[in-house]
Symmetry: none
DNA sequence: CACGGGCGTTAAGTATGTCAAGCACGGCTG
DNA sequence: CAGCCGTGCTTGACATACTTAACGCCCGTG
């Protein structure tokens, strides 16, 4: 292979756009790393992820896991959400805000839930259902 | 309700921190799924993730990838950030302290849950996660 | 000149995520 | 009773994340 340095990255994606995302993420990370004037090995020791793998991630060859993404964000002092946006993170599913005040009274779990006025009846039933299913598991 | 096996399957985490997180995440997902009245297979077909794997994730046997997490959030109409919080996405990296608005006063529901000795810590975390997700929806 | 020593990249190995089939239990319906 | 569906769960094969040990290159020395 054209080992060593100047490899022309002639990698074509035959996949649906996933690699675009990963590639963008990688580029972003590499840019941030270089801006912070860190070498792969330095960053590797900070993140406890191998330099080799970091290299691959930066070139878009792999999609890193949460753990790794988190470490990277940490080492680069980035906002985590930022990084996640760069990873394939579409916004979606926006629930409608429905504020509802009023506190409640004390007691056991079920009573407390039932007394919680900010919840709808459906929500109360749901939570209690979960609670019970945990109890008899 | 967790029918079928009725297996005790007392698989306690002896691994340390890792499984706590994953377990809480799994509990949260399972809770949300049951609330949505979905079976594993239904959710599997919505998320295009196999029912088998979903089962394992819900029981904390595996840490799902971003793709999967995203599909799940989508299928359950959850806010993605919520899910990520439940996945081991805790504090640490907080360059900008973002004071989460905690408008509601002391919640008796949370206190009641925490005081419920028949629940494991992961179960408590899951229930409270559900509860909060309802509150600020 | 040779020699360390830094850099990014590669190759081969191990761990872990993910899937397609099939199992065991239980609820029905005839 | 048998037989079908519907659960959730297990297993064994494969794909992908990730590691450790190299390689080739470039830049300082002595």
């Amino acid at each position: 292979m054209t080992t060593g340095g100047a490899g022309p990255t002639e990698d074509r994606a035959r996949d649906g756009g996933w690699s675009d995302q990963v590639n963008a993420l990688g580029g972003f990370i590499r840019a941030q790393r270089q801006m912070a004037k860190l070498s792969l090995r330095e960053m590797a020791s900070m993140t406890r992820v191998s330099n080799a793998y970091l290299s691959q991630v930066e070139r878009g060859l792999h999609q890193p896991s949460l753990k790794v993404l988190h470490s990277i964000a940490d080492a680069l002092h980035l906002n985590t959400e930022q990084l996640l946006r760069q990873a394939g993170w579409d916004a979606s599913t926006a629930p409608e805000p429905e504020p509802r005040p009023r506190p409640a009274g004390p007691s056991s779990v079920e009573e407390a839930v039932r007394a919680e006025t900010r919840l709808t009846e459906e929500q109360k039933t749901a939570i209690i259902g979960v609670y019970r299913s945990f109890l008899d598991s």
